[in-house]
């Protein structure tokens, strides 16, 4: 799909500084995340990718000792770190799925509805249809339609990850963050998730952290390259891989570092 330059970026980061305790984790990060596109976040391990993505929906503060020391993250023009901002609402609108699929100790259906019930997005009577809608979206419906009441722990790893995605989608977000969603999955499950990502791009802004460069090339339209807590380069994925401006970027995409 062609890039739509008229859409303002959903997320904009300005001069972000993040510390773990005393040491700096992210320094002077500024970038834009375009709407309704997949943006990959890449870099060698320890460069701050996960830290960065968690700042985008204020889940970083759930990690003890992690602090945003400066800068701002603008979502639709408003700084989400401003004191007037409601954190719960931010997290509803900007969802996240993690590396290891975490299903809650309840039935599959209750898992999907967990956030939606809280945010009052669905009525009691419509719950099953609502859950079905999102389970279908992630391609899980046919596999679980007969056992919606079963404990979610009985699903396989790939299924649980899709369940987490359905759960996030059921919150009706505009942005979906993904922190290495496939690294704990087998190749078949990975492929299914990647196909889903490409399909979801139509309707959501997606930011995906990945250490797998071929995955980044497959699914993303834009890319951010991080190194040692700094944003070294940002641009269209094709350009990053074929014609990088920074030498570090070139070394990374050719496999010389990280």
């Amino acid at each position: 799909m062609p890039n739509s330059p008229s859409l303002a970026p959903t997320l904009e980061v300005r001069d972000l500084q993040v510390h773990y305790g005393r040491s700096s984790a992210l320094t002077n990060i500024s970038c834009r995340i375009p709407s309704r596109q997949v943006t990959a976040v890449m870099g060698p391990s320890g460069c701050g990718k996960s830290t960065f993505i968690k700042t985008l929906n204020r889940t970083l503060e759930l990690t003890p000792r992690a602090r945003v020391r400066g800068g701002s993250v603008l979502y639709r023009g408003h700084d989400i770190y401003a004191s007037a901002c409601n954190v719960d609402d931010i997290r509803k609108q900007i969802g996240i799925i993690h590396q290891r699929p975490v299903s809650f100790p309840m039935s599959i259906k209750e898992n999907v509805l967990f956030g939606a019930r809280f945010h009052k997005l669905v009525r009691r009577a419509d719950e099953t249809d609502y859950a079905r809608k999102y389970l279908e979206r992630v391609g899980l419906w046919n596999e679980v339609r007969d056992r919606l009441g079963a404990h979610a722990g009985t699903l396989s790893g790939g299924q649980q990850q899709r369940l987490c995605l359905a759960r996030t989608l059921a919150n009706q977000p505009t942005v979906i963050l993904m922190d290495e969603p496939c690294s704990a999955l087998d190749p078949a499950a990975t492929r299914r998730i990647e196909e889903l990502i490409i399909e979801l791009e139509r309707d959501y802004t997606i930011v995906i952290v990945t250490h797998n460069m071929s995955q980044a090339r497959r699914v993303s339209r834009n890319a951010l390259f991080f190194y040692d807590g700094r944003l070294m380069e940002a641009g269209p994925t094709q350009q990053i891989f074929e014609d990088p401006r920074e030498s570090l970027t070139r070394e990374f995409v050719t496999g010389q570092i990280g």
């Binding site: 007037a84 409601n86 719960d88 309707d203």
Partner: protein, 315 residues
């Protein structure tokens, strides 16, 4: 696949400051925080209250002749003398004797049980030992006192020709049974904490099983074993009903295990009913209680610290 449209409505209400404070869910979080904090403080405030109250009520006991030294080392417990004196020497000495006796008996047996459980026992017996120890630990003090009363006391009266069989020895024997499960289970934990590969390497050198146990396992587990003994000490000091029924309740200073004694706990239980509040006797009892409380708390905290060190050692 279902076509999805992203709802556009939410953002208008997202960041307007006026809405923030009135979100229903925010109140529930605040309420939960307040309630849980309140309960937490209420509960732990009780600790402060207990310690301060007992300490405050114990202070007047120092007004007796000799002050602290008199209270602890010199004065006898003679409420009916002229003037009445309330020294607690006999009490803490009895506590010490009874406790020492019980540990003397319990610690070797507990060590044996611990070694048995962790090194030697077949799985069936190992599985049985745990509930057996828990059973022993669960029997209340008063039942132990009763058991000792109907078994040991008549035995003592018959074999030693005493008029009454209650004595420090009887209390010490029963106390050793009461203390056994606690020392044994902590010691077992300590032994189990010795890493398997340490044992394996030792066995691989071809020495006997006991050589390994003695020189490797016990040595490695030493802090945990020490903690187990100290835990037994604390529990023995704190026992009330069993020693009340078995130690004899005599206010004279004991000199031997066959003497009758009155540990601090028994002193309190015997005399509290007749102690008018704010009387000298009352203050002396509070002083005895303070002594007991401080010692047991300090011991228990030491054990906990040792246990923590034990755990972190085997990371």
């Amino acid at each position: 696949m279902v076509a999805m449209t992203v709802p556009a409505g939410n953002t208008s209400t997202l960041l307007s400051p006026a809405r923030v404070a009135w979100r229903g869910r925010r109140w529930s979080d605040l309420a939960l925080w307040a309630v849980s904090l309140g309960f937490m403080l209420l509960g732990t405030g009780a600790l402060l209250l207990i310690v301060l109250y007992v300490a405050a009520e114990a202070l007047p006991a120092l007004k007796q002749a000799g002050g602290l030294k008199g209270l602890l080392f010199v004065l006898p417990w003679e409420p009916l003398a002229e003037p009445p004196s309330y020294g607690i020497l006999h009490a803490w000495l009895s506590s010490l004797l009874v406790t020492a006796l019980s540990l003397l008996l319990a610690v070797p047996v507990a060590l044996g049980v611990a070694i048995f459980t962790s090194e030697i026992a077949p799985p069936l017996l190992r599985g049985l030992l745990r509930p057996c120890m828990e059973l022993l630990a669960g029997i209340p003090s008063v039942v132990y006192g009763f058991f000792g009363y109907v078994t040991l006391i008549p035995l003592f009266e018959n074999s030693f020709g005493l008029a009454a069989g209650e004595c420090i020895l009887a209390a010490g024997l029963i106390l050793s049974v009461m203390v056994l499960p606690f020392v044994a289970s902590t010691a077992t934990e300590a032994l189990r904490g010795v890493p398997g590969n340490l044992r394996e390497s030792a066995y691989a050198t071809g020495v006997t099983r006991w050589h390994v146990i003695q020189h490797v396992v016990l040595r490695q587990a030493a802090p945990g074993l020490f903690a187990a003994i100290v835990l037994g000490l604390a529990r023995a000091l704190g026992e009330a009903l069993a020693v009340l029924m078995l130690a004899g309740n005599a206010t004279a200073v004991p000199h031997s295990p066959m003497d009758r004694g009155q540990p601090i706990t028994a002193l309190i239980l015997t005399e509290l009913g007749e102690a008018g509040v704010d009387s000298d006797k009352y203050h002396a009892l509070m002083a005895a209680g303070l002594l007991l409380m401080v010692i047991t708390v300090v011991i228990n905290l030491t054990v906990l610290a040792l246990k923590r060190r034990m755990l972190s050692r085997h990371v």
